[in-house]
Amino acid sequence: MKEISLNILDVATNSVTADATTVDITVDYEFATDDLSVIIADDGRGMSEDFVKSVTDPFTTTRTTRKVGLGIPLFKDSAELTGGSLEIISKLGVGTTIKAVYKISSIDRMPMGDLADTVTALIGLKESLRFILQYKVDGREFRFDTDEIRAQLDGIPLSNYEVLAFIKEYIEGGINNTNGGLDIL
């Protein structure tokens, strides 16, 4: 993947497939420790302990259209290549949290890319879900929550193109504000 935001889209798609009702995405830059944490938490069907152990192996998949699952192995590699790590906490019937830590300054770290596009793509994937994005830079924070948007809309779908265009600009503005004028990749 050329951007971390594409890994996020892909891993959050697993949450949608696992029948989550809420997917909570956190992107947190801590420059003091050189850590970029990316956390995707869902309340989907979860995985057993044994399954979690095998899931970073590309030959583990429950999909039926193809024999290998690539999403989690690619996410793990992208973090570990920078000297970071990937951790999965999951419980059957409760949900799954996947946390990747990247070393911000590593030359092997992919840029974040377009997080707003990732959120609008997820809304397109499953309109009825609640998506939350928490974007943090050194303690400053922007929070986006589809429930807050929905509360203003009186039943108009989020996938309405005017609404999507609004959401995209809203998230871009929130991220720029949080970056505080810096070009954070």
């Binding site: 993947m1 594409l6 889209l9 892909d10 798609t13 497939t17 999909r63 259209t65 193809r66 699952g69 690539l70 999403g71 690619l74 377009d114 596009d117 990732t118 609008t120 793509a121 397109g124 994937l125 807050e148 948007i149 203003q152 809309l153 009186d154 108009i156 996938s159 309405n160 193109y161 005017e162 609404v163 999507l164 265009a165 609004f166 600009e169 809203y170 503005g173 929130g174 720029n176 504000n177």
Partner: protein
């Protein structure tokens, strides 16, 4: 920075438009983009967003852009399926954002399939 209050104006506009529209959804054209790992890695996200932008720009009320998981033909990704009611499904392969305006104009607006973008 945008404020959530702007959604109110959008809401009113959309509600007025939908009052003027009969038989929504039944006659809608669906554009579906494959967004499993293989699709995403091959560039499906910018294609999806190009469709969303183009539909917004042309104010096409009768087009729904959505996405699905793996369509099962990884080497042809990004794959886009277009469903026009009453017509067979059309599958576009190796789609790039620059191909999107033509698919919209020729196929979705004027009902001429762009044959050169489909599977040979």
């Amino acid at each position: 920075m945008k404020s959530l209050a702007e959604l109110n104006a959008i809401k009113q506009r959309v509600q007025e438009n939908s009052n003027n529209r009969k038989n929504a959804s039944d006659n809608d054209i669906k554009v579906v983009i494959g967004m499993a790992t293989c699709g995403i890695a091959a560039g499906a996200r910018p294609v999806l967003n190009a469709f969303i932008d183009e539909v917004a720009k042309r104010k096409l009320q009768n087009v729904i852009v959505s996405q699905t998981g793996c369509i099962g033909m990884c080497k042809y990704e990004p794959i886009v399926e277009v469903f026009v009611p009453g017509q067979p499904k059309v599958t576009y392969v190796k789609v790039e954002p620059t191909m999107v305006p033509r698919i919209i104009t020729d196929h979705i607006v004027n009902n001429n399939v762009v044959a050169e973008y489909t599977i040979k």
